[in-house]
């Protein structure tokens, strides 16, 4: 039976590159994917592209591509990534330039576009957003981007045209893996069962180190060897949809039934209905079995027809968040931090600082869980954190300034003030009909 080996070289936009290079050199891979696009990232990339038309792709693109191309010189592996973000064509041009410089002029590079649906939004102003249920048109003035999660068909087409490096914008994360599987095995796009099985492979690879022992270790309870040297995953997928997850020998980390269970369930909602543009995958009856050291067989996933909808992330200029922090230590630290918090609230009122939401936390005490967990012993150090949402930059500035003023005006012994101000681009999601978009492939 034909099998394909796919490695995962990045689980988020800023991920490490060394484990990916190691996989490319030693992994005997057919493909490697780099998943680098979070929900909001593409909106920020779109803003960058507006200012610099030749930018708008992943900020680490050149850094990564240098190392990827060098590894490709040693051993050919097909590379698939969504690092194109808001500008896959510009990213592909950049990659072309870099490949040329390295004597890789025969490398075929494809850009997949078609996810940008900003110009189509006015047809859908009345649709409710998934976050609030309010109609999209309420955000009209502030919208900066709209990108649909594409399925795998653009990637499949790029591979058919002989691409060695495929650069996309927004695609559903598992599509980075489903694309090569559909291409290699000739699975039909209504072969729901195989699409579902390919989707679980993509789902397990898309967060890279999270299935090989990353985000898993709890010392003494769930131990992982050499986590500092975490190896990234390899999936071996058969033409029948069979799947094994493993990693390279000589790397740290762990591939166990437990690590795979955590990652199968990760970010699912209803496990029987995992909606993707290509199919509705069903992981409810998934099973895992350890079949070797750092090798787990995953079975039992299946698929059903897709729901005919594409999720679209709409980026909009939302607000500003101003923040300040200060630490207190020693006897009565918590009481001094709490007093400092009360002082800030009164000061913001006195200054007439217009905010729509305020949050005051004592880090080390209640910043993660509020009152959910019973409080323990008196802490020896506490960090007060004040954050507020405002309409204007000026108002947001006041928050950090007021926390800073606790140095000379607040309770005894405050130290280590930091302040920050962030301009917030938020994301609202809407569901659009999937015949709205068709991916385009540009070979460079």
């Amino acid at each position: 039976m034909k099998t394909v080996r796919i490695g995962s070289g990045a689980g988020y936009g800023g991920d490490r590159i060394e484990p990916a290079v190691d996989l490319m050199k030693r992994g005997n891979l057919d493909y490697i994917i780099f998943e680098c696009l979070a929900e909001r990232t593409i909106a920020l990339a779109q803003l960058e592209r507006l200012e610099h038309p030749e930018k708008g792709y992943n900020p680490l693109f050149s850094y990564r591509m240098e190392r990827i191309l060098d590894a490709l010189k040693e051993r050919p592996v097909k590379v698939i990534t969504n690092m194109g973000a808001a500008n896959p064509i510009a990213a592909a041009k950049k990659a072309r330039e870099m490949a040329q410089e390295r004597g890789l002029s025969s490398l075929k590079i494809a850009a997949v576009t078609g996810d940008d649906v900003l110009s189509r939004l006015p047809e859908f102003w009345d649709l409710p957003t998934m976050e609030t249920g309010k109609p999209l048109k309420e955000l009209k003035e502030d919208i900066v981007s709209a990108n649909a999660y594409l399925g795998c068909s653009g990637i499949v087409e790029a591979l058919r045209q002989g691409a060695d490096l495929v650069i996309t914008g927004r695609v559903a994360d598992p599509a980075l893996v489903l694309g090569p599987l559909v291409y290699e095995f000739g699975w039909k796009m209504d072969d729901w069962d195989h699409l579902g099985k390919g989707t679980i492979a993509g789902h397990l690879l898309e967060c890279a180190g999270q299935v090989t022992g990353g985000y898993f270790c709890d010392p003494g309870k769930k131990d992982v060897e050499d986590l500092w040297n975490l190896g990234f995953p390899i999936a071996e997928i058969g033409e029948d949809g069979s799947l094994e997850i493993t990693k390279l020998p000589g790397t740290g980390g762990l591939v166990s039934e437990r690590t795979c269970k955590e990652q199968i369930i990760y970010e699912l909602q209803d496990p029987a209905n995992y909606f993707t543009p290509d199919c509705t995958a069903d992981f409810q009856m998934a099973e895992v079995r350890q079949v070797g050291k750092d090798r787990v067989k995953v079975s039992g996933a299946s698929g059903k027809p897709n729901n005919g909808k594409l999720k679209v992330s709409v980026g909009y200029q939302d607000c500003f968040i101003g923040e300040g922090q200060i630490s207190y230590g020693g006897h009565n630290a918590l009481q001094r931090a709490r007093l400092a918090g009360e002082i800030i609230k009164k000061r913001l009122e006195l200054c007439g600082c217009p905010f729509s939401e305020l949050r005051v936390d004592c880090m080390g005490v209640d910043s993660l869980y509020r009152e959910t967990l019973p409080q323990g012993l008196e802490p020896v150090e506490v960090r007060l954190r004040v954050a507020a949402r405002t309409k204007t930059e000026e108002a947001a500035q006041i928050i950090g300034n007021e926390v800073e003023a606790l140095y000379t005006n607040g309770p005894a012994g405050g130290g280590g003030v930091t302040k920050s101000l962030r301009k917030i681009v938020s994301v609202a999601s809407v569901l659009l009909p999937n015949d709205l978009v068709s991916p385009e492939v540009t070979m460079l």
Partner: protein
């Protein structure tokens, strides 16, 4: 006893929804968790954080559960005022929940 003694967990997010898995170390404890870690009890446990519904999904072959907690992330990951805007640390709060053995 605390869930921490019997199970492990990983937390993810989607918009304003927190998604927390609960996985017993031993498959034999699946039924115990099914009885004790109900959606209702988990909603009570997180009453200070989660404003929306809590739904529990069962994965019988993985011997695991998935809790989907709505309106749990201060308006959503992209605009939350929380230090941990993704709510990544919430799974370890679930493991602090007390159950009857």
């Amino acid at each position: 006893m605390k869930l921490y003694e019997l199970a492990h967990s990983r937390t993810g997010d989607k918009g304003n929804i927190s998604v927390i898995s609960l996985i017993p170390f031993e498959e034999k404890d699946y039924e115990l968790l099914k009885r004790e870690a109900t959606a209702k009890r988990v909603k009570e446990h997180f009453s200070g954080i989660v404003q929306g519904e809590v739904t529990r999904y069962e994965l019988p072959k993985l011997h695991a559960f998935n809790f989907v907690m709505e309106n749990a992330l201060g308006g959503g990951v992209t605009r939350s005022l929380a230090v941990d805007m993704h709510g990544k640390t919430l799974g370890f709060a679930l493991l602090e929940m007390e159950i009857e053995k």
